[in-house]
């Protein structure tokens, strides 16, 4: 293979958009949860399990976590693109981050619906 600078992958916009939209979702969820939890008169195990027994809370928590994983995947990929120069190593790291994110997603569902 010749060693030339190759650009023109024709993607990037979607990732950039996902990163911005996921940031808004995470901010909205974090603020709502923080305000709600601070306004509770007491916070113990019963209140906590009661809160997460609601389908809406579980769904929005999962949405928050999915946004977090997408956001983190794009952020880590951007760092790797800057600092890891070998294309092979970069691909391995990209695949590892995707696989770990998938595992975390499965684990999140198990935790949220196992409570």
């Amino acid at each position: 293979m010749v060693n030339r600078v190759v650009v023109g992958a024709h993607y990037g916009l979607r990732d950039w958009l996902i990163q911005r939209i996921s940031a808004v979702v995470m901010a909205a969820y974090s603020l709502t949860m923080a305000v709600y939890l601070l306004m509770l008169p007491r916070l113990d195990y019963d209140v906590w399990t009661g809160l997460f027994s609601s389908l809406a809370v579980r769904t929005f928590t999962l949405l928050f976590l999915l946004c977090l994983f997408f956001h983190a995947w794009i952020g880590i990929r951007d760092i790797v693109m800057d600092y890891v120069n070998s294309a092979g190593v970069r691909l391995v790291i990209h695949v590892l981050v995707v696989l770990v994110s998938l595992l975390y997603t499965i684990w999140s569902v198990q935790i949220l619906w196992g409570m």
């Binding site: 600078v5 650009v7 023109g8 992958a9 024709h10 993607y11 990037g12 916009l13 979607r14 990732d15 950039w16 958009l17 951007d78 693109m81 800057d82 600092y83």
Partner: protein, 231 residues
Amino acid sequence: MKFKIYRYNPDTDTAPYMQDYDLDIEANGKMLLDAILLLKEQDDSLSVRKSCREGVCGSDAMNINGRNGLACTTPLASLKEPVVLRPLPGLPVIRDLIVDMTQFFKQYHSIKPYLINNDPPPETERLQSPEQRAHLNGLYECILCGCCTTACPSFWWNPDKFVGPAGLLQAYRFIADTRDQATSERLDDLEDPYRLFRCHTIMNCVDVCPKELNPTEAIGNIKDMMVKRLV
């Protein structure tokens, strides 16, 4: 006034070093370039690029006390002593304060910095309304001095792939031009994780631009147009 200037002559020096200079000069009303030219009279081996000496040609861009700027438009009285002068960061040094701008201009040329219009040329000129022309304000004034691009960390890491703020400002200058017909091709060309999306809105470019232009805003406008095209 005390100066500390980056010196490197590849023919005689094994490594760059900082040289101290002392200059008897009344700072008020003078620009940094005046002082550099007087220093050059003291020591004619000191190498620097300059031409118009009034902020139009952009050839005397350098790193002044850690900040990129034009020596000819930087008031001497505004500088803290010792005044530390270095070449623009992130580009190969040819000698002293002179850098090799090949990579910078390669990126500039890659965005096709000219009007693309396949209609037969009209007899007089391609007209724009005053409103259409107003969109080019803040874009066409760029003098390609390189201050912004060499202050951008994304350009430092990927100078061969990231177009850089100066190039992207010019890309938007032609995207925004109503006489240009290649908008879609220009957007296609920039839709790349490196060419455009290495910009992480660090805004060093806006901070240092000696013409007070806003490449970050232009890059944001390009991204907005891509979103508009997508949805």
